[in-house]
Structure formats: structure tokens, C-alpha cells
Symmetry: C2
Subunit: 281 residues, 2 copies
């Protein structure tokens, strides 16, 4: 099946259709006419890397991201070493899948630790340690700044500006930034920071900020158009950088997970065509 041109840059992040295995998600993307898929390592492990590469290759899909590396804020040397090994494995997988980026979620404060600056510094140093390995494998690391709602328990890097302060220490071919509307829509000078990011944007992920926030804040994301984010404006800012990559829909939401995955994909394609696609030029 040939993808309609309008959906050729749309990507399904597997977390949007959490009940689908990787083979099911690949099939779902192809049937919906999408151009790419964002793969999660958990589902990848279920089928194995070789089979995953075969599936993806056969499908003709691009891999817009591999999710996810990171989680390297521990102050414990053994834990930091384990995280580094785990991240190297992730780099190997991203290389094999020819993923546009390996998404790095920084990780939160270690239990009982309240020194946020130190945790941020450890995250930056961990990225620095990974860069040579990623470079050798041709993988572009994508630092994902996360909404401050997750600063304590998931991602200590809180703004695009902060992510860029780290990324800019390295070549753009090695370290970029993941731009997710949910995480960054509120950032005061987001349009300027997107311009600053320029070619460092290695992933554009979209989902909405909905209120009232669902009880489990990890699952607080909404379908584009259901919340408060101005997707046309945000998308224009991303497009103005010349971003050539895929637009990946990543929605953690219990209601969506309970719906038939193909319906979710159909809805996200509709919303994309309405709220995002017209603003990509």
C-alpha cells in the first residue's frame, strides 16, 4: 500500500497504542498509510532485534525514534554504570533500526535526594560519556526536556533551553533535542528556543495538554485538539527551522489505551491532517 502523501511524515509512537505488539503496530501503521513508527524497547525485546529489523525493513516504514535511553541520574556508581551499559545496548538497537534518534529521558531525583542541580549535572555527564559510542554507531542522541510536572520523578531537564545548553556542547550530528508539545508548550520563549534548536531537532512529538489533568499524571496526555495546545503555531515554529523529519504522535492515556488501536490511529491521522499537516510548509 502506498502512503498518501499527506500522511507520509506521520509516525505512530507505540505508546499511543500500548496494547499492540511491534508486529501489530507495524501492520497498523502500514494499513493506515503512515510513513514511520516510533518503537519502544520493551515491545522490541518481545520479538528480538533481528526480527524487528526485518519487520521494519519489509514494511518500508522509517523508525522516527527508539524510546528510550536515559534514566541516568543516579548518584550510585554501580547504578550509573548499569545505566551506561543499558544505554549502549539502546544505541546498538537504534543503529540497527536506523532510527532517527534514540530518545533520552533524563530520569528523576534519586530517592531521598533533593539536589536537583546535581542530578541535572549527572545527566549531562552521562550524555557526554555516551557520545563517542553513539558517534561510532551513527546514532543521534535526542535529549528530551520534560514538563516540570515530571522534574522530581522522571525528567530533571525541564526546558528546551536547558536541553540545548547541554546539546550544544556536542556536534549536532551526535546530540539533538526531542521537541514534545506536551512538555514544552508553556515554555515562555518557546518560539525563540525552537529557532535556536534549528537542526538539532531530531524528533517532533505531539500530543495535547488536557485539563483537568487525569489522576495518574503519567497518563495525562491527550489527543491533539482535545486540550489547550496551539498546534498550528507550534508546528509553524518547528517547520521554520527546516525540520525535515517525522511527526510522531505519542499519547499516554488510559482512555485511548482502552479503545481499539486502529480507531486511535484513524483519529490521530484526522487530527494531524487538521491541526498539524497544513502548517508544516
Amino acid at each position: 500500500m502506498t502512503a498518501p502523501a499527506a500522511l507520509s511524515r506521520l509516525s505512530l509512537n507505540q505508546r499511543t497504542t500500548a496494547s499492540w505488539s511491534l508486529p501489530e503496530a507495524v501492520k497498523g501503521c502500514v494499513e493506515a498509510g503512515l510513513g514511520a513508527i516510533g518503537i519502544w524497547r520493551e515491545q522490541l525485546a518481545e520479538v528480538g532485534l533481528d526480527e524487528a529489523c526485518r519487520l521494519v525493513d519489509e514494511s518500508g516504514l522509517r523508525v522516527s525514534s527508539l524510546c528510550r535511553g536515559g534514566f541516568f541520574t543516579s548518584a550510585d556508581p554501580a547504578a550509573a554504570e548499569a545505566a551506561e551499559i543499558n544505554n549502549r545496548d539502546a544505541i546498538n538497537e537504534a543503529a540497527a533500526l536506523n532510527a532517527a534518534t534514540l530518545v533520552l529521558v533524563p530520569g528523576g531525583l534519586p530517592p531521598g535526594d533533593r539536589d536537583l542541580q546535581a542530578a541535572r549535572d549527572r545527566a549531562a555527564r552521562a550524555i557526554e560519556r555516551l557520545v563517542p559510542y553513539a558517534h561510532d554507531h551513527g546514532v543521534n542522541l535526542g535529549i528530551e526536556p520534560m514538563n516540570p510536572i515530571y522534574a522530581a520523578d522522571r525528567g530533571v531537564i525541564s526546558t528546551l533551553a536547558q536541553a540545548l545548553d547541554i546539546a550544544e556542547r556536542f556536534d549536532a550530528d551526535n546530540v539533538g533535542v526531542v521537541v514534545d508539545t506536551f512538555h514544552l508548550w508553556w515554555e515562555p520563549d518557546i518560539a525563540d528556543q525552537l529557532q535556536r534548536a534549528g537542526e538539532r531537532i531530531v524528533s517532533y512529538q505531539i500530543c495535547d495538554w488536557i485539563t483537568p489533568l487525569p489522576a495518574d499524571t503519567l497518563l495525562a496526555r491527550g489527543m491533539m485538539g482535545d486540550g489547550h495546545i496551539d498546534f498550528p503555531a507550534f508546528t509553524r515554529s518547528v517547520a521554520q527551522t527546516g525540520y525535515p523529519g517525522d511527526i510522531e504522535v505519542e499519547i499516554f492515556n488510559a482512555d485511548l489505551w482502552a479503545a481499539p488501536p486502529a480507531d486511535v490511529v484513524a483519529t490521530m491521522a484526522e487530527r494531524y491532517l487538521e491541526l498539524v499537516y497544513p502548517y508544516l510548509d
Copy 2:
């Protein structure tokens, strides 16, 4: 009762003991030996301004803040006019109570409106319109930047840097900033921004960021020490500015509201003495 010196700068914000009326809260503060109280307009209205002034005067307490003005992001002229009138009333009350500041909560996005920048601009213009009136009444307006978790529905001003960008357009005697640990603990350059704020800090409010976040995010605040915020470090940064004011405990939390208010005040005093007071010099 004479306040012990160590508690002389501690203030109870009425929202921490939501079940107490204003007379009860004033009595509770005096009995606990606190030096100040942060008053809410809803409880103030129950007794009337004259009686409130009499109660406060008799108690010897300072009024560390009046909560709250603001909520002026509506794009509708009639609603904006109503908000301005309401804020003038709040200024009158703050003046009568000799409150250190009138806390301005900006307000969120109007329903269906996704233009965050325009809402922020309206908030700034609304503050500008209030300044002459506040000046004439000797009231210092305190802009409260709010955690991005509330950017859509409560406070469109998201960082101390952003609040200062607005405040600095005016004399420091007229417009300052409210520094609340819950809202600002994650801000990447918070220590620098606190230094920048300097004498513009008109209120230092404290409570903790707890995880997992309670289901109702409006009530997501925790008692100091129960969460992830480094109160010694944050307090040192505030103290370095020479901040001479009160330290106000403002905790919206359903569990605390269900507890006997005097017990809550006792706990907050203990935590203050442990986590905040030693770092004020």
C-alpha cells in the same frame, strides 16, 4: 502571648488550615506563636473588612499577604472590566489590612482559547492598569508565577524570570513577585533569578512538591519535608537577597485539611524550624 523569636517570621496562609474561619485562624496563629498570617478574601468576606482589621490589629499579627487578586486573562472586555473592579476591591482590602502584598494569580487560558502568549500579554496589561490604583493605596502587587502544571487553567505566568520581566517595568514599590517553592523549585536558573528579583520579592511562600502527585492537582502540595524540594538551598537563595519579610506556609492538601488545624500548624512550625529557619541568616 509573646512569639518565640524563632517563629516570629513564620506565617500561616489560611489555605493551609482551610476549615478555620478568619477569627479561628488568627487565634491559631497567636496561640502557636507565629508572627503573621496570610489572609484569603473568601474568609475575609465572612467577617467583613472592619472586623477583620480589628481582629488582626488586636492580635498583633502582621498580614504577610492577601490572597488573592488577578484572574485577568479574559479576552472579553466585560469580563476584563469586572476583573479590574474586583482587583481594585482587593487593593482596598490589602491597604486596610496593611498586607505586605496583594498576591496576583494571573489566571489561565479562557475556555477554547489556545493563544498562551496573548493571555500572558493580557495579564501584563491588566497589571499595568492596576498599578496607579495600587500605588495610590500604598499596596505592593505581587505577581505569582505558577508551576507550568497550572499554565492552562490557573496561571499563565510560568517562571520567576517571566514574572520579573513584567515586574521590572514598574517601580519595585509597586510591583513585586511572589516566590513559592512549589511553583519554582524546578526552574533551571532559579538561584540566579532570585538574585535578580532582590527587593522585588514581596512574599516567600513554602510548601513541598510531593510524588505521586495527588489526583486533584490543585491539592497536590505537601508539607515541607514530605517531598522533593531542597528548602535549605532555596531559603539560602531567598535570604541572600536580604528578604526581610515573613515566610508563609501555603499548602493545599486534602489530607491536611482533614486533620485538626492546630496539629497542622504545630507540624508546619516544626518543619519550619528544621528546614527553613536555620537558613534565613
